[in-house]
């Protein structure tokens, strides 16, 4: 019951935050120098098409009606036409979104599992050589400059060793060949995914390790650890069954808090590997003055971050009853 009230309160907060973001973006769009119409309407369109789009987006109406149109268009998925692709923005986004989700979630989950595992070991042997080295590796992984790491990985594994493709997500010869079945296509995607996945894994796992390590060290001071030891349980049982599950809780929150920061890294990785995801599309559309597409990508990413934060909070509230006050 209390959990439900908590979720409703958080949902309401998320909705308010999203409306503020939507409104600020709308105002900035009008404040920016230049003509708002030319920013939304493709210069290659015929006057009739342009006329239609302008009335669809409400750009010929007074400001407050434009705002109503803007909000309505957002919720009905009408973002206008992309200049570069000549297609409705929404179809491009729906095409790119799965690619980003596959790459991002796989890497974050892997990094969290590996990070938590090594963080547990590092904290258990605090001050040992093993701990110092693990901490150094984790710090380096946390602070390495993402696009540079991606370029170095491409240079070594794709160029020097030739093990992996340099960029992209699919090879045309596999996908255009009528003989290749779904398995061959899937393997082709995995083959292209390994390097970007490694990049994202490497930049994330360090922070999970560090958080787990700190959290474990704090947990080890708790009374119930002393109790467990006094009961004569083996060190391994104390570590894996008494300390680690409790220490892993803050890691859940950190996934949410770090999300905004790791999305930056995700966009950079996608761009360097030309992985056809939302992040790369945003960078690409901004470089090419494709405002309708850029705006939609941005709003979508903001929405995803908000929803993901909400989900993380709910999971946390579910795991730790103390915070559902």
């Amino acid at each position: 019951m209390e959990l439900r009230r908590y979720i409703i309160r958080r949902l309401y907060q998320v909705a308010v935050i999203f409306f503020v973001i939507l409104t600020v973006l709308f105002l900035l769009f009008r404040l920016a120098p230049g003509d708002p119409v030319s920013r939304m309407v493709d210069p290659d369109m015929t006057p009739e098409e342009a006329e239609l789009l302008i009335s669809e987006l409400g750009l010929d109406k007074p400001l407050w009606i434009q705002y109503v149109y803007f909000v309505k268009n957002f919720f009905t998925g009408n973002f206008g036409h992309s200049f570069n692709y000549g297609q409705p923005v929404v179809s491009i986004i729906l095409d790119r979104l799965p690619n980003t989700i596959i790459l991002f979630t796989t890497s974050v989950i892997l990094a969290a599992l590996v990070g938590v595992f090594f963080g547990k070991i590092a904290s258990w042997e605090k001050g040992s050589k093993k701990d110092v080295w693990m901490t150094i590796v984790a710090l380096a992984s946390h602070t390495v400059f993402v696009p540079w790491l991606a370029l170095i990985l491409i240079w070594i594994f794709a160029y020097k060793l030739g093990w992996f493709p340099i960029t992209g997500m699919i090879s045309e010869e596999v996908w255009l060949d009528p003989d290749s079945g779904p398995l061959a296509k899937l393997l082709d995607i995995i083959y292209h995914m390994i390097l970007p996945l490694t990049t994202l894994f490497l930049i994330h796992f360090g922070s999970y390790l560090l958080i787990m390590r700190t959290s474990m060290l704090e947990t080890l001071n708790e009374d119930y650890i002393l109790t467990a030891r006094a009961k004569g349980l083996t060190e391994k049982v104390v570590r894996n069954h008494h300390a680690a599950p409790n220490a892993a809780l803050p890691v859940v929150t950190t996934v949410g808090l770090n999300l905004a920061f790791s999305i930056n890294g995700g966009a950079l990785t996608e761009t360097v590997f030309t992985w056809p995801g939302i992040g790369r599309e945003l960078v690409f559309s901004v470089s090419n003055n494709d405002y309708p597409l850029a705006q939609a990508c941005f709003l979508l990413i903001a929405l995803v971050v908000l929803v993901a934060n909400l989900v993380v909070d709910i999971i946390y509230a579910f795991l730790d009853p103390r915070i559902r006050y």
């Binding site: 907060q13 308010v16 935050i17 503020v20 973001i21 973006l25 900035l28 769009f29 920016a32 120098p33 920013r39 110092v132 901490t135 150094i136 710090l139 380096a140 946390h142 602070t143 390495v144 400059f145 993402v146 696009p147 540079w148 790491l149 370029l151 170095i152 491409i154 240079w155 160029y159 808090l257 999300l259 905004a260 920061f261 999305i263 930056n264 966009a267 950079l268 761009t271 360097v272 992040g279 945003l282 960078v283 559309s285 901004v286 470089s287 003055n289 405002y291 850029a294 705006q295 941005f298 990413i301 903001a302 971050v305 908000l306 934060n309």
Partner: protein, 303 residues
């Protein structure tokens, strides 16, 4: 006069004991050494253009070179695609990194400390309002926000970039300072000040601020790393200030001009510098955290 001397002694003693904790922290020391090297690089960046105009990081072109060349005696790290000296660009990049990192960090801890103190001290709707605003800034990825702003407003100047970074980074500081202020507010000395008739502003700035400032400065080192990374990433994507030579810009040049496979001497140094400077600031921050921690722990158990 007499009263002041023991106070000074106490402060010196505290500094010394803090230094003793810091000295035991291996990673902190490594960070400090690296940062010293980077600072020397930043200072040294003014020298090459005076030796010969061809060493100017932005406009200096070696007249005998038309494409990127490897390291030589004349150009220690080689030259870029226009025949500009990579080593002097690397030095200039250190200057930009410090400039961006320190100014953005300073601005964000300034904002974060003041907003955090006001939020924690005033409480009620002021607190709710400020913290909700903080939430909005916290969920947005700064890099993508700057990209969308660049698409609306065109090329952004380096100081505007610094300003936007600090606008998006204060909430982290504000939350910590707010939590600290909440516990300080309940202390007797604040009540005492209130009874004497001190105004809210006076209590915030004279009584609370000195107690939260060490924490703010601890956060400064972490803010520096964020600011440097965001600026470098922006420059790498081609949205940096075209009037500056930063490490991110150098990486963008090597990537966009297709030299990345041919010129490892050009690809490696800028990225290594960005990674090392952020790593050093981060390690320094952790070491300072260690120095401050015992005192904070005690306060936590008191409350």
């Amino acid at each position: 006069m007499d009263k002041r001397i023991p106070k000074k002694h106490a402060r010196a003693k505290r500094l010394l004991s803090g230094w003793a904790v810091f000295r035991d922290n291996l990673l902190g020391k490594i960070g400090l050494v690296f940062l010293t090297v980077f600072a020397l690089m930043a200072i040294g960046s003014f020298i090459p253009p005076h030796i010969d105009p061809m060493y100017h990081p932005m406009t200096g072109v070696d007249p005998q070179i038309y494409d990127s060349t490897g390291p030589s005696l004349k150009h220690w790290l080689g030259t870029d695609f226009m025949g500009r000296d990579i080593f002097s660009q690397l030095l200039a990049g250190a200057r930009i990194a410090f400039m961006v990192g320190v100014s953005a960090a300073f601005m964000s801890i300034f904002l974060g400390t003041i907003i955090g103190m006001i939020s924690g001290y005033m409480g009620r709707w002021t607190d709710t309002l400020l913290m909700r605003i903080a939430d909005i800034f916290m969920v947005l990825p700064v890099l993508l926000v700057i990209l969308i702003l660049a698409s609306l407003f065109g090329q952004l100047n380096i100081w505007i970039i610094v300003f936007i970074i600090s606008i998006f980074k204060w909430p982290g500081v504000a939350r910590v300072i707010r939590a600290q202020t909440l516990s300080l507010k309940e202390r007797p000395f604040i009540d005492a000040a209130r009874v004497v008739g001190a105004s809210h502003l006076r209590i915030i700035f004279r009584h609370i601020m000195p107690n939260v400032l060490p924490l703010s400065f601890l956060y400064m080192t972490f803010m520096v790393t964020y600011a440097i990374i965001v600026e470098a990433a922006l420059a790498f994507l081609g949205f940096g200030d075209p009037g500056t030579v930063s490490w991110g810009m150098m990486l963008q040049w090597v990537w966009k001009t297709g030299h990345m496979f041919k010129a490892p001497y050009w690809l490696l140094p800028p990225g290594l510098c960005i990674s090392l400077i952020t790593l050093s600031f981060y390690m320094l921050g952790r070491a300072m955290d260690d120095v401050l921690d015992p005192r904070l722990r005690k306060e936590k158990t008191v409350v």
